[in-house]
């Protein structure tokens, strides 16, 4: 059985300057309960790995607004004018990565791979500082794995074994990040007393360290 915790207990695992992964795509499938607690703490200096930085002041955007993020490794910041402004003023480090490469780098870490070979970014600025390799006369970039101290993800359903299932387009990065972090905290909208059917499980429970009952806090 996976340990159930509260959002307030979840932030006890965090330390300043850690690398954290946060699931979600814009405002869809975002683990907001932990974010809401994290911004109340004095912790700071995080490196954020996420698809985007959400919108100004809401959801993941709160982390930017509260000045918690030193560096963000993301694919897009255009939806959050606060991130764009901080970036233009050199007050935050932004490492923009092609979204598919970002996803595969997270998977590579979780899957025990030394990286991935991708044609994405060849001939663009994304090449800078990266090794190139030729396979069968085609050029690829070597993209290295991404690992986090803590991953916080959303799930629509979780059972007591930590198995996760999803509704709609909430899967996004929530499915990959649990493989690539030392501590994995899952905010589930519905905690099921009966185990999920083995056929329904999307993320195997062995990746989940702690579960938060999102329903108890009114997430919908």
């Amino acid at each position: 059985m996976v340990k159930m915790i509260t959002p307030a207990e979840a932030v006890q695992f965090f330390k300043s300057n850690q690398t954290i992964m946060v699931g979600g795509f814009l405002n869809c499938g975002v683990p907001n309960l932990v974010i809401n607690e994290l911004i109340k703490t004095p912790l700071t200096g995080f490196t954020l790995i996420s698809n985007d930085t959400g919108e100004a002041g809401i959801n993941r955007g709160q982390l930017i607004h509260a000045g918690k993020i030193k560096k963000a490794i993301v694919s897009h910041i255009g939806t959050n004018p606060e991130t764009v402004q901080l970036y233009n003023e050199d007050k935050i480090e932004i490492d923009l990565q092609p979204q598919g490469s970002l996803a595969e780098r997270i998977r590579a870490d979780g899957a025990g791979l030394g990286g991935i070979l991708t044609p994405v970014g060849i001939g663009t600025d994304i090449e800078k500082g990266k090794q190139k390799i030729s396979v069968c006369n085609k050029e690829y970039l070597i993209e290295t794995p991404l690992h986090a101290d803590i991953a916080v993800v959303y799930a629509t359903y979780a059972d007591r074994f930590g198995n996760l299932a999803f509704h709609g387009s909430t899967r996004n990065f929530n499915v990959l990040m649990p493989m690539a972090a030392d501590i994995v905290i899952v905010e589930a909208e519905h905690i099921l007393d009966e185990p999920l059917s083995p056929d329904e499980v999307v993320v195997p429970g062995i990746f989940t360290d702690y579960l938060i009952d999102g329903g108890a806090y009114g997430i919908d």
Binding site: L26, C28, I94, G100, T124
Partner: protein, 215 residues
């Protein structure tokens, strides 16, 4: 007569819609490219893929079917057509990168006669990021750029892009409110002059040289 922004976009979106074949798997950029689905010809049904993890994107949600857990890549609530499905980001980008998308339609800040595309960064001014665009353009079978011909009067179709590239040598076609160009190994080929434009108009608003081979 000066076209309004809405009229301009509609002209482009209607023309883009003519490029789809029945059964195509299509990815559309946010904004103008997405509008093309409104003007699909009769008998043409396409499967729209959205990078956030929806295959078979349907109509926008309305008051009878709201569900905040199903959105398109712009974060707008959508429905999923029969036969569609939801996938994670790995599968979504495997579809794109792996060559499983028939047609991709994106906007551009700049596009050039060599088929280079720039649409993610204006250094020092605005850097929204590439999102999924770089992965998408690498794998797609056909890449169409749908955009207004100029930005505040300045040409966007250039001899050579000056902004950071999204992809090199990959654009197949450019559709604007003035013209339709193919991009051949030798450069731009003007294939259609849109009703509100003329060869003169296109020549003065296009930085790149082009061959004229109207169909």
């Amino acid at each position: 007569m000066e076209l309004t922004k809405e009229q301009t976009q509609e002209i482009i979106a209607r023309r883009v819609a003519q490029e789809f074949s029945n059964g195509d798997v299509v990815t559309l950029g946010i904004g103008l490219p997405t509008k093309a689905v409104r003007y699909l010809p009769d008998g043409v049904n396409i499967i729209v893929q959205s990078e956030n993890g929806v295959l078979g994107v349907g109509a926008y949600q309305n008051d009878t079917n709201r569900d905040c857990h199903i959105t398109n890549a712009g974060g707008v609530g959508v429905t999923i057509n029969p036969g569609g499905c939801c996938v994670d980001s790995l599968m979504s980008f495997a579809m794109m990168r792996g060559g499983h998308i028939d047609v991709t339609v994106l906007g551009a800040l700049q596009v050039d006669a060599e088929g280079n595309l720039a649409n993610w960064c204006i250094p020092g001014k605005f850097t929204p990021g590439m999102g999924g665009a770089m992965d998408l353009v690498v794998g797609t079978k056909r890449l169409i750029i749908a955009m207004e011909h100029t930005a505040k009067g300045a040409p966007k179709i250039l001899k050579k892009c000056t902004l950071p590239l999204t992809v090199a040598h990959k654009v197949n076609m450019i559709i604007t409110e003035k013209a339709v160009f193919d991009i051949s190994p030798h450069g731009l080929v003007l294939r259609e002059i849109m009703p509100n434009s003329s060869l003169d108009d296109i020549s003065t608003t296009t930085d790149a040289d082009f061959e004229v081979d109207l169909r």
